[in-house]
Symmetry: C2
Subunit: 365 residues, 2 copies
Amino acid sequence: MNKIKVNLDKKISASYEIYIGRKILDRIGMIIAKNELASRYVVITDSNVSDLHGERFLRTLSDMGIQADMIEFPAGEASKNVDVMLDIIKKLLDMGVDRRSALIALGGGVVGDLTGFVASTYMRGIPYIQVPTTLLAQVDSSIGGKTGIDLSAGKNLLGTFYQPKGVFIDLSFLQTLPPREFNNGMAEIVKYGIIEDTDLFSLLEDEAKTIRNESMVLLETVIGRSCRIKKSIVETDEKESGLRRILNFGHTIGHAIEAESGYSLSHGEAVSIGMAAAAMVSEKLKYLPSRDMERIMKLAEALGLPCGIPDSLSTEGILSRLKTDKKKQGDVINFVLLKKLGSPFVSSEAPEEMIRETINMLKGR
Amino acid sequence: MNKIKVNLDKKISASYEIYIGRKILDRIGMIIAKNELASRYVVITDSNVSDLHGERFLRTLSDMGIQADMIEFPAGEASKNVDVMLDIIKKLLDMGVDRRSALIALGGGVVGDLTGFVASTYMRGIPYIQVPTTLLAQVDSSIGGKTGIDLSAGKNLLGTFYQPKGVFIDLSFLQTLPPREFNNGMAEIVKYGIIEDTDLFSLLEDEAKTIRNESMVLLETVIGRSCRIKKSIVETDEKESGLRRILNFGHTIGHAIEAESGYSLSHGEAVSIGMAAAAMVSEKLKYLPSRDMERIMKLAEALGLPCGIPDSLSTEGILSRLKTDKKKQGDVINFVLLKKLGSPFVSSEAPEEMIRETINMLKGR
């Protein structure tokens, strides 16, 4: 038997910049033009974002002499599917888009995930840029290269790890964001404070009111700190083999609660409740000091995020969703718990009865 | 404006081994078991290969204590589409396959391309192994990580660059290969001799008869040399930005002829004719010595590969297909031509009239 080695151990250069600022839209065109990433660009966006920002965004690009077209699809998570993906691909082919072109994802998480997945597979991969327009996408999904679409069997079942060539975060997009969408992002920001940055956590405590009033100066700081945490976790664990799992803090129970509510709770609301639950379990297991647990609950409430589980949700329903998740993984449930603020760890210690008790206590809140 | 750098410049380790031999099937199980790539495996194959080798292959794995299931789809290029891909994914989900599982592509190019694409996108990527069963897949498509599916607008329009974790080439599969399939592979082997390895070319000249009789000893040598050439080109140019284009020698006119024949010519036959055409154009442009051109034609014929274009094909039809290709690229046609045997280069010098003349001369052969 012969053996031939294909030697593909090598250095790759997949680094990119995140630009954060108020009214940086004009600079986007300039930076894109300067970088000469591609000979033409196609902006992918949804119907909501297109109505609000589409025309202005295209004008910004054309003012810099950049050739850009736009493809739009119906807004909403329901669009993150194979049919919409194939429809975008058909339009790209009809436009004659080839491997020297690049895509620009203008929108929230759905737009970013879908555009990234199209970019990673169209003609075996073309470059793309993220221009997140929601707070959640700005501090979370636009950074790190996770792309994907949903299948009927579950979310993000098809996708890739495929890094963008740049992320442009313009705070002025937040002015048109509905309050519930704003809260989706705030829950993730609180999470970064809890798992990694106690200074950020204290800042949020001190300035909760100003932040709720959407002070742009404070938001710029808070978004910047959040992006730094996300990016440093992604740098260490690009493909989510270990460390990146701590980003799931609050998400395990959160997802079960979100699903059990029939998605009447938003993602941010469910994650906020999930973080309260994870903190409470951490306290019950004698890791987290009671004082820290109380601080977490208080901060959430000061920011207008819920900690209580609506009485209408069935405790056993939530538990059974957690267990389905468990069965799928062929393993015990791994919760992200806290030793103290800023010190998360992955654990499977929490017994079912303790989780049941926690859910019931949160129903009383 | 703030700027944060996401630092993803790093070393990656995507190297893998190609194993070549007669009757190495038993060793495959052993090597897979030793490498502990995954906790379970799913073999993806087509109906033809499944009938011939499926059961034996699964038994080889289970004899080594490896948990393996099999998914089969209808044989043929027509299966390389989105529907078959989604069907495979649905079956994987039903089986409970997660990120700790790996796929094994058992079959020809269609099986390899499709399985690789599924592996690269299923839950954001799981490992896969290539076990090519056709000569063409053994010397070409199983090495290099090009994956993809066809869309109605064209071939391989969706896909990824995603390297397998290993390639196992067992020559015993060739014993069940139809002669036309064997020729598809031989055309590529001749191509490697022409573009890169004059010793291989001479060996083929000297041993044409023995090779046509499928001498396993000689084939092992010839396949090994071909794999070495393919792998060294892939090492230098993984994502086909430059050098890898010389692998298209004979393929530009070849594809036009194959399509114009309504696919009644096989891929290998069309490529063989395309190589004759490219050699003739190289000679007309005063690069390739006439003697080398004659050697190329003679070797093809000695191996039972055609050099002449069937009279029934329209010269203008072939030319117009070349020009459509040209329009799509937004560029002139780039032919791979020869300075001499072993020295290919990319050129756009050939005027349309010279290509017309070449096609008409090859019709006379």
